[in-house]
Every structure is written in C-alpha cells, then in structure tokens.
C-alpha cells in the first residue's frame, strides 16, 4: 500500500507490501504485535515500535526517538502556507472575528489567540472564503492545529 506523509516539511511516499503477517519495505520487515506495537527487523536486529495517531499525525516511538509523521492525501495541495493557518504554539482563542463562508482578503485579521502570556494575531494568508471554522473564544488549541481554512 502506498501512503503520502509529511515529515519535517518534506513530502515522503511510503509503500509497504504485506506478505501474510509480515510487512516489507526494502530490507525492513515489520509485524504487528497482539498489543498493537510493531516489531521491526532492521539489519537483523529486532526493535519494538509504538505508534498512535492523533488527528492526522502518526506519532512513532522507536529506539528512544519520537517522530511525528503527518498523513497527507496524495495529490492534494496540503501546503500550510496556502489553505490553512496553523497555531504557532499552544494557546487559547481570545477572539474570533470571521465566520464560516465569509470572504476575506489577505492580511485580514481572523483570530486572536493568547499563548505564553502574549496575544498573537492570526491574519489571512490569501484572498478567499473561510472554510471550516469550529473555534470559539475560550477554546484551547495545540501547536500545529489548523485554526481556520481559506479556499479560493
């Protein structure tokens, strides 16, 4: 199966093949364990990995390292600078100045959030129409959360 992921800003294609209970990718082999962990064979050495998906992101723990690997839809335009504005850090929504369906111009003030005792102004990065917008004042957001989407 082929998947498109995003890691550290780069888009990565990952194709894994299944042969009975074993998955393959190049020399790597992987089995899913009964408790949901994954058993990997890397250069003849076995490693155990944990994975869990939060939102669109796979969190992977392997050998003391943690990787956040975002699942993206192949072919779609998922450049953050285009469609969605993301929270620069964890914080709290203070004010919402637009509503779903509203037309906006690049630079318009959309949201105000508070984080680290400072106010951050979230402005439109393009002209367009406000898409999904579920936030209301008082909501907590996590770093990287999509705050608002704009479609052309």
């Amino acid at each position: 199966m082929q998947h498109e992921f995003k890691f550290a800003g780069d888009t990565v294609e990952v194709t894994v093949a299944r042969d009975s209970q074993t998955w393959h990718l190049g020399d790597l082999e992987c089995q899913i364990m009964a408790d949901g962990r994954l058993k990997l064979t890397v250069n003849g050495v076995t490693k155990f990995a944990h994975s869990t998906k939060v939102g669109d992101v796979w969190w992977v723990h392997i050998d003391g390292h943690v990787f956040c690997i975002e699942k993206t839809e192949a072919g779609s335009n998922d450049d953050d600078s285009q469609g969605g504005m993301v929270a620069p850090m964890p914080g709290k929504i203070i004010d919402v100045l637009v509503e779903q369906g509203q037309s906006v111009t690049a630079g318009d003030l959309l949201l105000v959030m508070e984080a680290m005792k400072m106010e951050h102004r979230i402005v439109a990065n393009m002209d367009g129409v406000i898409g999904m917008l579920k936030l209301t004042p008082g909501d907590q957001v996590q770093q990287g959360d999509v705050l608002v989407e704009i479609s052309e």
Partner: protein, 501 residues
C-alpha cells in the same frame, strides 16, 4: 500531634505527599480545581474537596477558601508542597493563626529568606559567604541608580542586577559594561515592580562557569539541624533545572563538610524548622557563595532521598508533629540522577506543548523511580506547569547511573504530546555530562542555536515504515478533541477512539 493533613498543591508533588500520609497512617485532604477533577492526586487522599473558582488565583492560591476547607474537614496540618503558597509567609501565618500546623518553617524564616537583600545581610552576619556585591537600600529610582553606579566600581564587570523580591530570573539583568548599567537598572526595576510590586534592586558580581550546588537541610523542634549532602543542578534551560544529581561530581568530603556547615549556619540564623535547601554557586576554584534558601521541599528532593536513604516528606511530617527527626548519621551511598520530563518542544526554545498522553509508558526495572501525577489517557493542558514527571535513577556509581538513565529514557514512551525526552537522552551522552563538567550556562554553550534531535536515516526510514504499516493496518487512532468549552471531563475514553487490528 497531627492526624489529618491537607495538601495545598496538585500534580506529582501532591501524589508524593498524599502517599507519604497514607503510609504514615495519617488521614489526608486533597483540594482540587474543577479542571483537575480527574487528576491522579485527587484519588490518593482520604477526602478530596473541589475548590470553587476558575483561575489559579481563585483556586490553589485562594488562602481563605483553603483555610475554610481545612476547618470543615478537620485538617490539623497543611502541607504546601512547592510553588503555589509554599513560600507565602502570609499564608503560613494565617494557617498558624487558625490553629493549624504549618508543615514548613516559621513565617519569619520565610520572610527573611524571601527578601533577597535581607537574606544576604542575614547570611553575612551569620558568617555564610555571599557573592561579592552590595545591598542597595533605596527605593527611589534616582537614588538607587546613583548608589548602584557607585557600587559597580567596587563590584566590577560583568555584574548582575537582582530584584530583592525576585525569583525565577524576573527582575534580573546581566550587565557587561558600564555603558549599559543605567538602562539595565531602570529595566530591572520596572520588571520587578510589575512582577512583585517591589522595585528594590541590588548588585552582585557575575560568576561565570560556576556550578549550582545546593545543600539539603533538615531542622527539628528539638534543636537538631543537619545537612544531607548536596545536589548539583547546574544543567538548566531558561533558568529552570532539568538534570539534577547527587553527589556533585566534583565534590570532596572536605568541601561537603564546609558547605554543609555553611548551610546549617544559614538555617540556624533564621531558626529554621523542617526541610529546606540552601543554594550555592560553586566556582571552578572551589569557592562557594550563598545564592538563596528555598524554604520548602524541592522538586529535586528525590535524588537526596535516593543517596541518603532518608524520606524527606516523612521527616517533614514527623518534625511538624513535634517529633525528633529519625535520621542517624549522614550516610551517602551510590549516585542518583533526576531528569524532569516536560511537555515542551526542546527544538523550539522549550516552548510548552499540550495534547493527549495517548501513550504514556514509563520505564521499569531496579533502581528506577518515577514521581508523576499523570497517567496514560490524561490530557496535558496549558492550565498548569508543563512538568509531567520526574524520572530518577539510582546506581552504585555515577557511570552506572548514567547508563541506567539512558536505558530508562530509551524505554520511556510518550506519544501524543511533545516532550523533552529525546533532549534529555542526548544530554546523557554529552561529554560534559559524562565527565561531570557541567555548569549553569552549558545548555546555551552546547546548543547556541537551539537543540534539534539527531537521528540516523535508518531510524527515520524505520519510523516511516511504522507509520506506513500503522496507516495500512488502521492501528490505534486517537482523535484529540480538546475544548475547554466542553462541560464534560477531559475523559480519555470520550476523546480517544481506539481500534485494534
């Protein structure tokens, strides 16, 4: 006598104290804000009482409400933990006036150590070495500037301006040259007034390349004041400790005895009672200077417990009940290291992170202790300090303790929230940590442009494969919905949906 202890705190230190009460056969009262109602510490008390109010000021810092709860539920002692009200002399006084035992030193001792200039003067009078510098007795800006400018010629550069009411780096300014002095004084004063309502600023020489070494003291009401050796806490980021150990790698028996005696003198100078910590700067030439005294139990107290075999919280309870401390002669053994696990992004200036603890699997095995107030399924919120846990290891030698810490950190799995686990792990491999050549500015020195994780392409490929297989097989899925407008509790099983293969 003490029979029921109210713990005026939350999180891991509340868990630590509540368990100690339980083991000591004491009843306990936990108090909690509504957003903590599913937190672990709430379960560990005999009785748990919800605090009215929303903000920290309306809950954990609401002295009257806490005193009312103590009265209503028959608490005859209050343990403040650290942070919150622990170093508020007015609260200690109100507790005592309500006829309740305060598990800590006298309000006067808190005050004398809380005001940094008073503490400096008291220490000088007691014969405890302080950092070369001068107290400045003016509140008026013009007079203060004049006095500091004069003093600066005696103290020398680089120097530090410190707010007398300060703490945690607020109201502090490093001054490299006389040109910057006046502006820095004004800035420090402004910040100190804003943070503490007290603009008094004093001046100290800056001692670069020093170690932060602190001495644990214990004083009971039967006239015994002892020290329990040192902790080295030089490894700090943003003025906050992340890696603490005991013994200090460069400590000698002779120096320990000298620093221990200085700490005991410091405690005696304020008629100290209970557990406290005297912080020193230790220079590379082996000189040490009083920095401040923390008049409470400290975050890093477990490393002292591991090497001395003394249960500091049990001793606090004993001393507060008027009993003599149970410690015999100081017997330090082996080596203990604590690291602080924070929900923060070490690769982005250590900014706090929030999110679900979708997976939270601490390491196990001999010599590993975890002090925490969270468990898998909990949410990390921006409401409180982002410290999730303290991981403490003990081993017969420093090298073995570092080996054990590396293994423990590798085995510690936290997913769903960004943590500093990998940062701590890489720290354990750094040559200055391995050799014990740590000082207070080492993190800035090692990673002047910030830290970012190092990994091989093999391990990244393996991780990508794990993501690919997990996605293909539809493994665990956690939908993090986190909204403070929800009326319901932050339930892991309301917010997490899981599918197994």
């Amino acid at each position: 006598m003490v029979s029921t202890v109210l713990v005026a705190n939350r999180g891991e230190i509340a868990c630590r104290i509540l368990r100690a009460c339980s083991e000591a056969g004491l009843n306990s009262v936990a108090i909690y804000a509504n957003n903590d109602k599913d937190s672990m510490f709430v379960e560990l008390a005999t009785i748990s009482v919800e605090l009215a109010g929303e903000t920290i000021g309306e809950t954990y810092l609401d002295q009257q409400q806490i005193l009312d709860i103590a009265a209503e539920y028959g608490a005859d002692a209050i343990h403040p933990g650290f942070g919150f009200l622990s170093e508020r002399a007015d609260f200690a006084r109100a507790v005592l006036e309500a006829g309740i035992t305060w598990i800590g030193p006298s309000p006067l001792a808190i005050e004398m150590m809380g005001d940094k200039m008073t503490a400096r003067k008291t220490m000088k009078a007691a014969g405890v070495p302080v950092i070369p510098g001068e107290e400045i007795d003016f509140e008026d800006e013009t007079k203060m500037i004049e006095a500091i400018v004069q003093a600066s010629t005696r103290v020398g550069y680089p120097l530090l301006l410190k707010a007398s009411s300060g703490g945690g780096g607020k109201g502090m300014r490093k001054v490299e040259s006389p040109d910057d002095l006046v502006e820095s004084i004004k800035g420090a004063r402004r910040e100190a007034i804003a943070a503490f309502g007290d603009g008094r600023v004093y001046i100290e020489r800056m001692l670069t390349g020093s170690k932060h070494v602190e001495i644990q003291v214990l004083a009971d009401t039967h006239g015994r004041v002892i020290h329990l050796g040192e902790r080295e806490c030089s490894v700090q980021r943003r003025h906050q400790k992340v890696f603490e150990e005991s013994p200090c790698p460069v400590m000698t028996t002779d120096l320990r005895e000298k620093m221990g005696q200085a700490a005991v003198m410091a405690a005696k100078a304020v008629d100290y009672e209970g557990a406290g910590t005297v912080e020193f700067l230790l220079t590379s030439t082996g000189e040490f200077f009083f920095l401040e005294m923390n008049t409470r139990i400290q975050v890093e107290h477990p490393v002292t417990e591991m090497v001395t075999g003394i249960d500091l919280v049990r001793e606090q309870l004993r001393i507060a009940a008027g009993k003599p401390m149970s410690c015999g002669q100081l017997m330090m053994r082996g080596h203990a290291i604590e690291v602080r696990l924070y929900a923060e992004d070490a690769s982005n200036n250590f900014l706090p992170a929030i999110g679900p603890l979708a997976v939270f699997r601490p390491p196990t095995g001999p010599g590993i202790r975890l002090d925490t107030g969270v468990r898998e399924g909990d949410m990390v919120t921006p409401n409180y300090d982002p410290m999730l846990a303290k991981l403490i290891v003990w081993a017969p030698s420093r090298a073995e303790a570092l080996q054990r810490m590396r293994r423990a950190l590798d085995d510690f799995v936290v997913l769903g929230t960004t943590t500093n686990l990998r940062f701590l792990r890489e720290l354990c491999d750094h040559e200055d940590v391995v050799s014990g050549a740590t000082d207070t500015t080492m993190i800035e020195r090692i990673w002047p442009n910030g830290w970012s994780p190092q990994f091989s392409s093999e391990i990244l490929n393996a991780a990508l494969m794990v993501a690919g297989v997990s996605e293909s097989a539809g493994l665990h899925t956690v939908q993090a919905t986190m909204s403070s407008t929800d009326d319901g509790p932050l339930s892991p099983f309301q917010s997490l949906t899981r599918r197994y293969p």
